[in-house]
């Protein structure tokens, strides 16, 4: 494997004596899109600032193409290989053109060389028609496009994005994400993006790093973080709503039987009998059948329960089913109508053993 573009080791940052960041290890491969996700205030932005050398390190090392970056002159050199886009566009009081040109001007590039680069990037991010407009007089979406164009104009190897879409309305946000995706595909730019939107992280990244309390608790491909969260915080963040605590009764050939309040759940995993564990089930993986029907399902886990509540999210409905424990299921509107699902109804719920992700209980 080639040398990673970025390696972080033992990075520690504190603010006013309080430690806010502690990254034991993080590696970013060239061309990769890594998302930092997690609740607010867990150090995502601080980590990005740390990667850009914009925050005072108390300890730790950052290697760029294998070379350690110290705080002297190579810091400036390093920064000129990267670009950063913040939540706010942070444009200068100047025209859109001059804003996009600013990074190139800083590098002392000649005017004649700047022009084609600026024009290319104005075009790429769809703001060419605003070129001579004052940055004061453009919309929020246009401003963020300008900010992205400014970042990419210097042709950075590494782009750091700090929640760049959070203050945009959904259509604008979609359009900008599309444009950004196209640019990155042709450039093969390495990106590290902080976001608290799991959907953004899932569709854009190759890998996701979950941050909690200033550290990284899980790194892996989106599907892994989605389906095999390492702890309850990650699980809750990636949308797992059913979390059942119980005790392993039996374990053989990778199949566990977990006792939850006297009910048995079959799950895939390797724990030893007697261990306290937590069974996590994604709401999309729970199937609902009419009560009394002969469930034509291969699912190992079948329970009969009462629908305690129904919440509508437009096309998706969220059901709380009481089957001795509380099971959360997501059901489409179509299924709702087919099954005439209502509050107080008795239904059969089923989920596969492989749909249950088991983690060690935090209370044991």
């Amino acid at each position: 494997m080639s040398v990673p573009i970025l390696e972080v080791r033992g990075l520690k940052v504190s603010r006013g004596g309080v430690p806010v960041l502690d990254i034991s290890e993080l590696t970013v491969q060239a061309g990769e899109f890594l998302s930092l996700i997690g609740p607010n205030g867990t150090g995502k932005s601080t980590l990005l600032l740390g990667l850009a050398g914009l925050v005072k390190r108390n300890a730790g090392e950052i290697r760029f193409h294998g070379r350690a970056i110290t705080n002297g002159s190579d810091m400036l050199e390093y920064r000129r290989h990267l670009a950063m886009v913040f939540q706010e566009p942070l444009l200068f009081v100047a025209t859109v053109y001059d804003n996009v040109a600013s990074g190139l001007k800083i590098r002392g590039m000649r005017r004649s060389h700047i022009r084609p680069l600026v024009e290319e990037h104005l075009e790429l991010f769809g703001v060419a028609h605003l070129s001579s407009r004052s940055a004061r007089k453009i919309s929020g979406g246009e401003a963020q496009r300008t900010s992205l164009a400014r970042a990419f104009a210097t042709n950075p190897e590494l782009v750091l994005l700090d929640e760049p879409f959070v203050s945009l309305d959904p259509p604008t946000r979609e359009a900008i994400i599309d444009d950004l995706g196209r640019v990155m595909q042709t450039r093969r730019t390495t990106v590290v993006m902080a976001t608290h939107d799991r959907m953004d992280a899932l569709r854009m990244s190759n890998r996701i790093a979950f941050m909690e309390g200033g550290g990284i608790v899980q790194v892996g491909p989106p599907s892994e973080v989605m389906h095999q969260p390492v702890n309850q915080t990650v699980a809750a963040f990636v949308g797992i709503e059913t979390m059942l605590e119980g005790e392993v009764r039996d374990s053989s050939a990778g199949v566990l039987v977990v006792d939850i309040n006297g009910r048995s759940i079959a799950a895939a995993g390797s724990f030893t009998p007697g261990e306290r564990v937590m069974c996590l089930v994604r709401p999309e993986h729970v199937m609902i059948f009419p009560a009394g029907s002969s469930t034509e399902s291969s699912a190992r886990n079948r329970f009969t329960g009462t629908v305690r509540s129904v919440q509508s999210f437009g096309l998706i409905h969220r059901l709380e089913i009481d089957c001795g424990f509380l099971l959360i299921a997501h059901v489409t509107s179509l299924a709702m109508e087919d099954l005439h699902l209502k509050q107080g109804m008795t239904v059969n719920a089923a989920f596969k053993a492989t749909s249950v992700h088991v983690i060690r209980s935090s209370h044991s």
Partner: protein
């Protein structure tokens, strides 16, 4: 009442015939206050920027001192500058007392805290992330400071105006260190004081009108600047 109307009539006459004495006084005022403002810009903007961008022990005290300086009565400045420039004073050997240079020094001392205070506030008001964004664009420290000053240029222009407005209309220091010598250190304000004292209301009103025009223009520009906004 008749006195005032007669005075205004004569004042208009003096203004429109471009009376050489009135013109001379106006020109000296502009030159002296303009130079003083220019000097105060260099010191004030540098001081304001440094204090805005750095953290050091005693910073709060410095900020308080600058803010206090913004409101120091010109007469007090006049007193201290006079003492310094007095024949036996620390700077007495330059023989600057009762020269236009003395007025420039006094007015620069009055304007510097005003410019520093407004610069400090306007640089500090820029979003903290803007500084990081500029550094992330690959700027050196010097480039970063220059870009921040450029970003704050509108409020800084306000600092220029406020500084100039403050010194062109002050009288206490000018009369103390300049001495109101005819054709040499007589400026708009000191002349107004003297002519009023002598009962020459026509000239006093003419001078007053010129001063009013200056302050009006300055405030009009200031207001225009303050109504603008930063981009997102």
């Amino acid at each position: 009442m008749e006195l005032i109307i007669e005075g205004i009539r004569k004042a208009i006459w003096l203004l429109f015939t471009l009376d050489p004495e009135v013109l001379g006084i106006t020109w000296l005022s502009l030159k002296v206050s303009g130079t003083a403002t220019f000097i105060s810009l260099f010191i004030g903007i540098s001081l304001g920027t440094v204090v805005a961008l750095t953290r050091f022990p005693g910073r709060r005290l410095v900020v308080s001192l600058i803010n206090t300086g913004m409101g120091v009565p010109p007469v007090v400045v006049g007193l201290f500058v006079t003492i310094f420039l007095w024949r036996n004073g620390p700077l007495g050997l330059f023989e600057l007392l009762y020269t236009p240079t003395a007025i420039i020094i006094a007015q620069a001392v009055i304007a510097t805290p005003i410019v520093a205070g407004i610069s400090l506030a306007s640089i500090q008001k820029l979003p903290e992330a803007l500084r990081l964004q500029i550094l992330a664009l690959g700027a050196t420290r010097a480039q970063m400071i220059w870009m921040l000053i450029k970003e704050a240029r509108l409020p800084l222009l306000a600092a220029v105006m406020a500084g100039f407005g403050g010194v062109i209309s002050e009288v206490g220091a000018s009369i103390m260190v300049g001495g109101n010598i005819k054709g040499y250190t007589r400026v708009l304000t000191t002349a107004t004081v003297m002519e009023t004292g002598k009962g020459n209301f026509d000239i006093a009103i003419a001078l007053g009108v010129i001063l009013l025009i200056f302050t009006f223009c300055i405030n009009a520009i200031l207001t225009g600047i303050q109504q603008r906004e930063r981009p997102r």
